[in-house]
């Protein structure tokens, strides 16, 4: 197995991508991996936020039209991810962090498919009506899986000790930011800050319409 991974790293293709003295090799593959992430996680994340009650005035059904682009993002990342894995196959496959990333991506994709079925499938909720609890739970699980996948992706290059410290730091920072957002929403009651405040603000409009 080790020999196989070594052979993959030493293929002409992997060697060229890794070592070619041009920005069009390694760095460009890496940049496309970031583009794919931005569209895959960015667009699916916004749909999940809508399912959770943000921007409730947005009708759900047309948001399903973003799925082709979300899948393009996924396939760009599958392709560039395979190439990037080939370049350092031995170190990645002996890195527990890499398995965390792969597992989180699997969880996120399963959640994404369930979210899609829940929002745009046969028993889709009405356009501006409430989203069923099950679908909202799936939306939260997808966001958490994406956050873990992106964080684990950032951490592969670091030592286990630094990784542990950084993971704790990310958790604390994320908690503080969510808390800060909650406090700001309480203090200012701004519709744009709080999903629940927005919900309150939009109810009269829904009754009129």
């Amino acid at each position: 197995m080790w020999e196989l991974l070594e052979a993959i790293e030493n293929t002409g293709f992997a060697t060229w991508v890794r070592e070619a003295p041009t920005v069009l090799a390694y760095s460009t593959v890496l940049a496309f991996h970031t583009f794919g992430m931005a569209f895959l996680v960015g667009l699916s994340g916004m749909i999940a936020l809508r399912a959770l009650g943000f921007a409730r005035a947005l009708p759900l059904a047309p948001m399903g039209k973003f799925f082709p682009l979300i899948f393009v993002g996924f396939w760009v990342n599958a392709a560039t991810g395979i190439v990037l894995t080939m370049l350092a196959a031995r170190s990645l496959f002996s890195n527990p962090d890499f398995y965390v990333k792969l597992a989180a991506i699997a969880g996120a994709i399963v959640s994404l498919r369930m979210l899609r079925a829940g929002l745009f499938g046969h028993d889709a909720p009405p356009d501006t009506g409430p989203v069923p609890l099950k679908t909202r739970i799936v939306a939260v699980s997808m966001l958490v899986f994406w956050a873990v996948a992106v964080t684990a992706g950032r951490f592969t290059a670091y030592s286990p000790y630094v990784r542990k410290q950084s993971a704790l730091a990310v958790l604390i920072a994320a908690f503080l930011m969510l808390l800060g957002r909650h406090v700001a929403a309480r203090l200012f009651g701004r519709a744009s800050l709080s999903a629940s405040a927005e919900h309150r603000a939009e109810r009269p409009a829904l009754q009129r319409g």
């Binding site: 970031t34 992430m37 996680v41 943000f54 670091y158 950084s166």
Partner: protein, 170 residues
């Protein structure tokens, strides 16, 4: 001016803090990426609608996601400033020399400036109001599409050049 910028851009306290705590750099990297996701999710989705995708959505209601995109951009700016001012923790170069010599960082900053001008153009040409007036299913004016396409192109360019920054650091 040269000496002023050389001193002003280097924040030894930031570099020392990054060196002293191994979690600072990976933490900032992670939130830089969360910022990219929010920016493309919030602003990109609006641009895509103006370009004609998911026409059933009214751009004005889609604007609810724009603050999320602005928040993402802010995360990127804050973490980006930490990367540049604390550069010496990772690279034996002063931030001033990095900004002066790294063509990819220069292109990235230039593209961010273009994206800002593009946003100004969106308001100055009246396209913002024209897009606000769109009803579900309606097509945006041509100029609004050009501006939305430019926005997507410029932000993807910013991501691209950002990924290239280490290339010029050797």
């Amino acid at each position: 001016m040269d000496a002023f910028l050389r001193t002003w851009l280097e924040w030894p306290s930031v570099a020392a803090f990054i060196s002293a705590h191994s979690w600072v750099w990976p933490l900032c990297e992670t939130f830089h990426f969360f910022g990219i996701i929010l920016l493309i999710g919030g602003v990109g989705m609006f641009d895509l609608r103006v370009l004609g995708m998911a026409r059933g959505l009214q751009p004005e209601t889609l604007k609810r996601f724009i603050p999320g995109g602005v928040y993402g951009f802010t995360l990127c700016v804050v973490t980006g400033v930490i990367f540049v001012t604390g550069m010496r923790a990772n690279v034996p170069m002063s931030p001033y020399d990095v900004i002066r010599t790294d063509v990819w960082l220069q292109l990235k900053l230039l593209f961010i400036a273009f994206a800002g001008l593009n946003l100004l153009a969106f308001y100055a040409t009246g396209m913002s109001r024209a897009v606000d007036a769109l009803r579900p299913g309606e097509d945006a004016p041509g100029l609004a599409k050009v501006i939305a396409g430019a926005s997507l192109f410029l932000w993807l360019g910013v991501i691209y050049f950002g990924r290239l920054i280490p290339e010029a650091l050797g």
